[in-house]
């Protein structure tokens, strides 16, 4: 379970670690020449935020299989604002956040009434309906999507023509979102969310309004996803419904589960980095990619349920090696092969 309190010493270590990480991230594009690697880094930033939105909802005990839905909504709203109304990215972005928050508030008011299994199903269906609806709609460009979305206009000397500029923009958005999320997690709201996750009934008896806190979490996570959707639309300059369908929402959970579910920010970040870079470097054939992902998912869940970070922490604590851990897990199979219990 999530740690509720931190000692001052671990806080200091954490601040040093974050400072080092930030410096590395800032000087990274200077060290890397390759544009494609920069593109992957930008996509990793987007994926991290999407994974964080999943973790935010999971911190209230809600499991969403439709984290990609508001990412798509954000991208489309921003694209329409930019093309049909000629707004620049800097005006379209805040407007997108406001509009998507309103949509999320209205839909969430219905969705969040159900917890547990029903919410999983509703979110999954909603993500698919968004894709079908955008594909069917002529106004939104049908299955061909929207092309020719303008790049963000220059602010002062910074022009958004290179990948490096976009990388810094993505990093800035990511940092702002992380700061907001950290503030939320450490505040009364965050504690209420975790209380709901631990036991909805107990939280209810303690005077926490389940419905309102969950609706708040749903709205915040949707608005965050929409922010990145807006960035994606202006970065890619083309959006199609198929970019948001298929396995996208499933990959988003994979980021969180792979990194570690109990780490609301570092978990998705590590998961997103791994899931963005490893398939590219393994050069897996497109056709067997879902099988590789599926097997990876099963292996993580069966053998490393704490994710990468969780496994490392357990190892530091108990001295369990990875191999020993797998052996321990496999003993479950042994028990029902030799002795039907």
């Amino acid at each position: 379970m999530a740690k509720l309190q931190n000692s001052p010493k671990s806080d200091r270590n954490r601040i040093i670690a974050i400072a080092v990480l930030l410096i590395v991230l800032v000087i990274l594009p200077i060290l890397i020449e390759n544009d494609y690697v920069k593109h992957l880094l930008i996509m990793a930033c987007i994926s991290t935020v999407l994974g964080m939105t999943f973790s935010l909802l999971f911190s209230t005990g809600l499991i969403t299989l439709g984290a990609g839905a508001f990412y798509a909504i954000g991208a489309y709203v921003s694209a329409i604002l930019a093309i049909n109304y000629g707004l620049s990215f800097w005006i379209a972005l805040p407007l997108t956040i406001i509009i998507s928050s309103i949509i999320a508030l209205i839909l969430g008011a219905i969705f969040v009434k159900n917890g547990g299994i029903a919410f999983v199903i509703i979110s999954l269906l909603f993500a698919n309906v968004v894709v079908i609806a955008t594909g069917q709609s002529e106004f939104l460009g049908g299955w061909g999507g929207i092309i020719g979305i303008p790049k963000p206009s220059a602010i002062g000397p910074i022009e958004f023509t290179t990948k490096t500029a976009f990388y810094y923009l993505a990093l800035t958005l990511l940092s702002i979102i992380i700061i907001i999320y950290l503030a939320l997690y450490t505040s009364r709201i965050g504690r209420a969310w975790r209380a709901i996750k631990l036991s909805p009934n107990l939280a209810g008896t303690l005077g926490i309004n389940l419905y309102r806190y969950r609706l708040l979490a749903f709205t915040i996570s949707s608005a965050t996803a929409a922010t990145m959707g807006s960035f994606y639309a202006h970065y890619f300059q083309t959006i199609t419904p198929n970019a948001f369908s298929g396995w996208l929402s499933i990959y988003i959970q994979l980021y969180s589960v792979l990194g570690g579910l109990e780490y609301y920010i570092m978990g998705p970040a590590i998961g997103a980095l791994i899931m963005t870079f490893i398939p590219e470097y393994l050069r897996v054939i497109k056709e067997i990619e879902p099988i590789v992902t599926g097997v990876l998912l099963l292996v993580i869940i069966l053998f490393f349920p704490g994710g990468i970070l969780g496994s490392f922490r357990n190892r530091a604590k108990n001295g369990d090696s990875f191999i020993g851990k797998i052996g321990k897990r496999l003993s479950v199979y042994k028990s029902w092969v030799f002795k039907s219990k």
């Binding site: 219905i110 159900n114 999983v120 199903i121 589960v257 579910l261 067997i288 099988i291 599926g294 029902w336």
Partner: protein, 297 residues
């Protein structure tokens, strides 16, 4: 709208709806008994259709026998996947594991299983569409009302399977145990019943329902590797509308969704699924737990 068209759409809707009912009854048995939301259910349905294709079309086994065999094969696949994946996950849970964590792990595992089965079938059998020759190709024509006998057979078979399931659930000792497990597995264990095998049976039974649904529908539609993906979304919709954990609700939901889809496709075309989803949202905003269900935490 003529009477002929109406009857035709009605029978189409009922035949689609009855398949959804079989699917969702299977999902619901698994969900109630083992608390796993099995996203790989649609792939089991697809494998059921493939099983019928190979048994009936290639090996020329008797139609009814190949249906039963297809159901059994898929049950076996379901049981193996339970033992290999879900049992291991469940065995790790303790009393203090939160409900959302249990749900997430089993749902994610089933998503992984879904991806493997889906892409495995695609690689193994190719994207080729396969048709199963209908064993009942006759067209029934009463005045201007025309419909294929196969659709009526689909409805009849579904009714027979549903009745069989209800007899199993409410008239036998095994059914009593299965229902008891869905309320309190600990209490069932205390009565001296080995719940391990009950969970396996639960999963096999639910998977078998999906396999049977696929095998029954195979002569009507072409058999493709993507057929499972399309059906799982609508099955989940039926589960939502009817209410989780209510057999009556499932049947009602299946009929409602089947008819809405059948009439929707006729008058709205491609937007039918959107229309159905909007209606479901409207129903859920009035009754959060579905028509006959209760809202969950």
């Amino acid at each position: 709208m003529t009477v002929g068209l109406f009857i035709q759409l009605l029978i189409n809707g009922l035949s689609i709806g009855s398949i959804y009912i079989l699917m969702v009854l299977g999902l619901d048995i698994i969900l109630r008994g083992t608390k796993i939301l099995n996203f790989a259910h649609g792939q089991l349905y697809m494998l059921g259709a493939y099983a019928l294709f190979f048994l009936f079309q290639q090996l020329h086994i008797d139609y009814v026998l190949s249906l039963v065999l297809a159901g059994l094969i898929i049950s076996l696949i379901g049981a193996v996947s339970y033992l290999g994946v879900f049992h291991v996950i469940r065995s790790r849970f303790t009393v203090s594991t939160t409900f959302s964590y249990r749900l997430l792990l089993s749902a994610m595992a089933s998503v992984g299983l879904m991806m493997i089965l889906q892409q495995g079938t695609l690689l193994g059998f190719g994207t080729l569409e396969r048709g199963v020759q209908s064993p009942f190709p006759q067209i029934i024509a009463i005045y201007d009302i025309r419909f294929s006998l196969q659709r009526v057979i689909v409805i009849a078979l579904s009714v027979i399977i549903c009745v069989g399931l209800f007899l199993l659930m409410y008239k036998t000792r095994l059914g009593k145990i299965l229902r008891a497990v869905s309320y309190d597995p600990e209490a069932v264990t205390l009565q001296g019943i080995n719940t391990f095998w009950i969970f396996v049976i639960c999963f096999a039974l639910g998977s078998g329902m999906a396999g049977l649904a696929g095998a029954i529908i195979a002569p009507l539609f072409s058999v493709t590797p993507t057929m499972g993906q399309n059906v799982i979304f609508l099955s989940l919709l039926v589960l939502l509308v009817g209410g989780i954990g209510s057999y009556k609700g499932t049947i009602l939901g299946g009929l409602v969704i089947g008819l809405l889809l059948s009439f929707g496709f006729q008058f709205l075309g491609g937007a039918a699924e959107l229309f159905v989803f909007l209606i479901v949202i409207a129903i859920l905003s009035i009754r959060p737990g579905g028509i006959l269900g209760e809202a969950s935490e």
